[in-house]
Structures are given as structure tokens and as C-alpha cells.
Amino acid sequence: MLEIKNLSKVYDGGVQALKNVSFSVEQGEFLAVIGLSGSGKSTLLRCINRLIEPTNGQIVWDGQDVTAASQDEMRLVRRKIGMVFQHFNLVTRSKVITNVLAGRLGYVNPLMSALNRFPKGDIEKALSQLDRVGIKEQAYKRADELSGGQQQRVGIARAMMQEPAMILADEPVASLDPVLAHSIMQYLEKINKEDGVTVLCSLHFLDLVHRYADRAIALNGGVLMFDGPPNKIDDEKFREIYGKDAERVG
């Protein structure tokens, strides 16, 4: 369903963040992306919906070449791919419900939405998504009044408003404590299992990878080092991914 072919990214400063990365993802898979800080995880995820322009290579999604899509076509691609961020990226001065409704922007009439008019169905949907992540009562608070865990749930609700076929989650739990981390990961798991949404999720902790992912890919210095089920990451592979001096914890 998603196929990455020889993807490379060189930033303006000359940093090569991705080198000839190729892999593919099946519909309904839960794929973890692991690697050290700076290994190119965020770059990879952002290339997929072209928040970052890839330098080389091809991304094929649902049979469509994303890298060749025009601006208008890109909007149609993006609205089917939800994104969840490490720092939640909510518009903190806006209300929670407005943040969630923003997930519909790719679908609704641009003019009406610019006047903050959304169809009634979308508002009901936003409330039910908030209900699903357990924070319906907070809908009309300002987003910055919420705790970190609650903000990330708003982030997930926003992504789900897109009726996505795939969710890109860039270290969704890295700024949360372990208990909250599990609850957020469980929401992603639920979305993956119940709604059949493909999830690409970059993670720092291997125990989370083992617990939630069907499959993992590993990056080191922008190069794909591993592609397989998480339990295949033995000590030798681990050192290849995380460097010689790394030690497994937990």
C-alpha cells in the first residue's frame, strides 16, 4: 500500500539525512521506525506526506506517485494520512474542539472553514472522537489548559478526523511519562486493530516496539539497517543499529 523506493534527502546545509531507503508497508500494519537521535526518523516520516521535499527517490501510495503529485493532488493525499507529533503541535490558543475540527480541513469548503463554519456532522464527529479518547468534557477548553497526555489525545483525535488510511506518528510518546506513554500507544493500537488504519510510528524504547509493533525498520545515519519483526532484533543487530557501545536496558 505504501512503497518507498530509494528515498534520499539532503538538507540545504548539506546534511544527508536519508540514503537510498527502500521498504514497503502493507495495509493494516503497525510499523515501528527506530534509530538513534539524528538517524533520520522524522525526516523519513515527513517525506512521506511531503512536509519535507525528498531529494531523490519515489514514494508510491495507493498506486499514486506522491513525489510527482501537484499541490492540489498533494492535499488529497495528505488528508488521507493523519499525523501525530512528539510535541503534539496543537494550536494552543485555540479551543480543543477547533483543534480537532482542523482535521477536517482537507474535506470541507475552504471559504466556509476559514470563517470557522463546519458542517454539523463534523462537529458531532469531533465530539465523538474526543469521547473515544476519553476527554469529551474538555472540548470547549483552550488547548493549553490540558495536560501533556490529554494534548496528545487531542492530537490523535485530530488525526482521526481525517478518516485516515494511515497514521504517521513521530515519537508520539517521547515527551510523556511511561504510564501515559502506554495509554497513548494503546489508542494507536486500537485505531490500528479496530479501524484497520496503517500506523507508522517512530519510537525510542524497544520495549514499546516489542509490545505494539508488527514489524520494525531501523535507521542509522540515514541508512536502513534492519527490516523485520521486532523479535528478530538480537544483540548483534542491536549494536548495528544503536552503535557498538550501546547497551540494552529494560
Partner: protein
Amino acid sequence: MNKKSSPIRSLAVGLATLLVLVVFAYGFSVTNINFEETRSERRVASLTRILRALAHPKIFDYQFESVNVEIPFYLGCPEGGVEVPDVDRSGAFILTSAGCAEPKGTIVIEGHNFQGNSSGPINFIGFSAEAPEGVLLQVGNFQADAQGNFQVEVTLPNRQVRAEPQAIRVTGRVRVGGPEISREAQITWEKIVETVFMALLATTFGTMIAIPISFFAARNLMAEVRTPLSNLSLSLIGWPLGIGLGIKISQLLSAWLTPLFNSMAVTFIGAIIFPVLGFLFIKWRVSKQKEDAELQFSDRLVNLLYTLVALILAIASILFLGKLLLQVGSYLTPNKEVPLYFIRKFIFQVGDIVAMFVPVVAALVSGGILGGFFGKIGQMISDKLPPARGKILTLIITPIAGALIAVLIMQGVDWFYEFNNPAITLQWPAITGALTGLVLAIITAPKQSLPVGIVLYGIIRTILNGTRSIEALVMAIVFVAWVGLGPFAGALALALHTVASNAKLYSEQVESILQGPLEAIQSTGANRLQTIVFAVVPQIIPPYISYTMYRWDINVRMSTIIGFVGGGGIGFILQQNINLLNYRAASVNMLAIAIVVATMDYISSVLREKYV
């Protein structure tokens, strides 16, 4: 750091000191610093006089009753002395210690029977060939006691000695009734109100224009705007066409509709029907809108036609509404004495402004519509056509766009310099523009996107910086030439300065917003307008409010002196008072300025704290 002392180092320090001395000596000489002048008796005396006058702002005034008492007096004692005439002691009277004196001599003047506590000037009335009633030379002041008696020593003026008697006159004044607000204070009040409203209007309108500009002057938003050459060229052709079309439409419409305006009923019906029609039409269109990516050329053409129909309906609505305002205004009281007269004036003014701006707005909107439409066609050429055919089309379009833009620019330049030579304003720019376009079309690869946003950003920033560096005072001079003396010129100058300064400040705020929410909104498939409304606007509201307050504060300050160049407001009166040496009135003006500026400063800081 280890400092080594060496002869060379000491020499360098010595030379540097010398250089500083020379610089300052030059500075003193060019700024005409002259402390001798500050000590001179004449200067000190005039400074004292001004400062004392300033310390007595003429806020209150009293009604005075005055009485003049005059006796003959010889300047230069005639031989044989003078007879001291009998004085009438029934009313107020004065006596002098001598009936004559030499110039610069001293005499004692006594006064009796004046009203208790009265005071006033003592004048010597000298003979003058030009003035038959004589010239008044003040030689002193008196202050009578409660019984109305006084005694003062005065020095006589240094004037020509005459054989005929001249005179000494004492004017005694007493206040009657309580203090009243002085005329100066009343004028000051009127003018300070004018000043504050001048600043308010300038800030409001300046800000309204500055906000949209600020988005185009923000690097982070503009950097993403990249278009292929075919898009750029076609929209460059579309904009001028659209502007011309917009002006034509609004002219034709107002020509057709003008006969209808004769009847108030028709105007009233039109002012209801057209907005409703426009609203329904737009609503209907919006509901039928398809996804941008799915639109074919024919769909876009149909869209364009519908949009133009909507534009026509909108212009007609505005024309009707503006006329309705004018007609309603004329039904209101024409009597200037009625307090609500200013509302009638306001309605008239709004109607007038609407009529004035209809062609401008129509031109800009229709420029945007056609520019956008042509641009989309250009985008389709680049996205959908095979590269070879796209390239050929681009090779044709770009020279046309280049020639068109170059000719338009030269027409503008011609307006300033009046070349009156078609070779300069037509042929040459057309050829150079076309050649530039051709070269550009040859060197850009098909589908290559150009950083149009950054170029536009650079142009807007340059214009803003240039405009900002011109002081509002200087702008006011130009506007005074255009719209005449008065607060309108000042308000226009302040508004223009507000646009330039605030657009820059606002855009810096846009540049410093968090990138994260922007990314998140973009990733939902939002278009550019939606991204701005949902990710940018919420983040910039607090700094925008704070900068607007700040500007309103600055504008009040500026508007107090913009009158110095004829821009109206309190400064106009202040300058007049200073020129007429009317320092006590000037003092009232300054006091009012100080109060208003301090109050504004306080209010704006309180509001800023509250909103940020």
C-alpha cells in the same frame, strides 16, 4: 588577557584620545555650541520671561473691571519748574513725587481711592508723531492694599525731552465674578479631541491595511510559495487584465444604475435585493464546489464566469448600499445646531468613501480573480501537459508577460518623468521585457518551480523599509499639498506611516510563530488560506493587539506635533501660539499634550498587560 604596556600602545592611546578630541571639537563647532550666549543678560531675561509665562498656563480667566487714572507729566523739567495741578480726589487718583523728571529718572507714584486689592500696569504715555493718542510704555506695576492705596517707585523711560507735558496713566483692575474657563483652554480642548481622533482613525485604517500586507512580508510563509514559470507568467498577464476589467465593470455598473438612484424606494429595494441575491448565489456556488485537483479546464472556466457574476452582484450591492446611506443622510436633520448633525455628516462621508473605493476594490478583487485563474491554467500546463508541449507554451507565454509588465512599469515611470516618447515607454520596454522572458523560459527546466514567494517578500520588505524611513512629519507635508491644511492630511500621513511600520512589526511576529502547529495543519491537507486562519492567526493575535496599542500610543504622540507642518490637531494651535509669543496659551496646549500622552501611555500599558 595579559596587557603589555609598550610605547607603541601608549602612542596609540594618545592618538585615539586626540582623534576623539578633534571629533568633538568639530561637533561643537557645527552644532554652534555657544555657552556665552546662554549667559548673556538679554537671553537669560527672555528665558525667564518665557519660563514664567509657561508656568502660568492660562486655563482660567476672570472678568475684570478697570479704571484709568491719568495725570500730565513733564519729561525734562522746564525752567522754573512745573505747577502741580490740582487733582480730583473724589474718585481714584494718583500723585507723583514730582511733576517732572529727567529721562531715566526715578519718581514715586502714590495712588489712593482705588478699589481694594486692585492691581494693574503703570504706563508712561509718550508723544509720537505717528500715533496721535501717544505710545504706551509700561514703567511698572502696582498692587493696591485692601483700602485701595499704593505707593511704587518707577523709573522713567529714556525718551526725547519735550517742553509739552506728556502723561502717566495707571490702570487699576479688579476681578469681578468667579474664574471661568479661558478661551484658550476651550480651543485647546477642541483641538486635543481632534488630535486623539486623528490618531484613532489613522491607527484603525493603517492597521487594517497593515495586517494583510504583513502576511506577504513574512519570510516563513512566503518561502513555501513556489510556482512553475508557466503559472507565474500567466498570472502576471491575468492581473493587469483583471484590474482593467474590474475598473470597467464598476464604471459600467455605476453608469447603468445611476438613473435608478433617483428614487429612494428603488434604491432601498436594490440595497436589499442585491446583497441577498449575491449571498444566495455565493452560497449556491459554494455548495456545488468540486475538489481543486479534480477540476478540468472547462470547470475552471465555468467557475471563473460564476465568480465574475458574484463580483458584479457584490459591486452592485455596495453601490446601492452607499447610495442608500447618502439618501438616508440627506433625510436626517440639515440643521448644524442639532447635536446629532455629526451623524448625518458621518453617514455622508461613509457613503462618499464607499463610492470612492468601489472601483479600487473592484479592480483589486477582479485582478486577483483573473490572476488566480490564469495562474491555475499555468499550473495545469506544468502539471498535466507533457514536458515538451509545456515548454513550448511557456516559451510563448513568458515573453508576452515580460513585455506586458515592462511596458506597464515604464508607463508608470512616464507619469513621473513625462518622457512623451513611445520609443522609451513602449517599444524598448516591450523588446527588453520579451527578451528577458524568453531567456528565462529557455533556462528554466519544465516543472521547475521558482521562488516567487521570496522575490515578492523581498520587494514588499524593501517598499516597507523605504516608506518607514520617511518620518510621518515629512509625509504630512505631501498630504497637506494634496488635501489641504487640517487634520485629514495629518491622519493620512499617520495612517501611511502606521501601515509601513506595523506591517513590518507584524510580519516579524508571523516569522516567530511556532512551526509545529503550522506543520500539523498543513499535514491535514489544509490549503494556504486555511493554514493561515487555523495555525498562524491564533498565534499572532496577542502580539498584534499589543503592537496596535503601541502604535495608537505613538500616533497620539505624533499627532500632537504633526500640526507643526499643517496637519491639524493641537500642534497647529501650539505652533501659532509660540509664533505669536503667546506663551501662556502655549502652556495650556503643552499641558494638554502632556496629560493626553501620559494617559494614553498608561491605558495602553494596562491593556497590553491584560491581553498579552
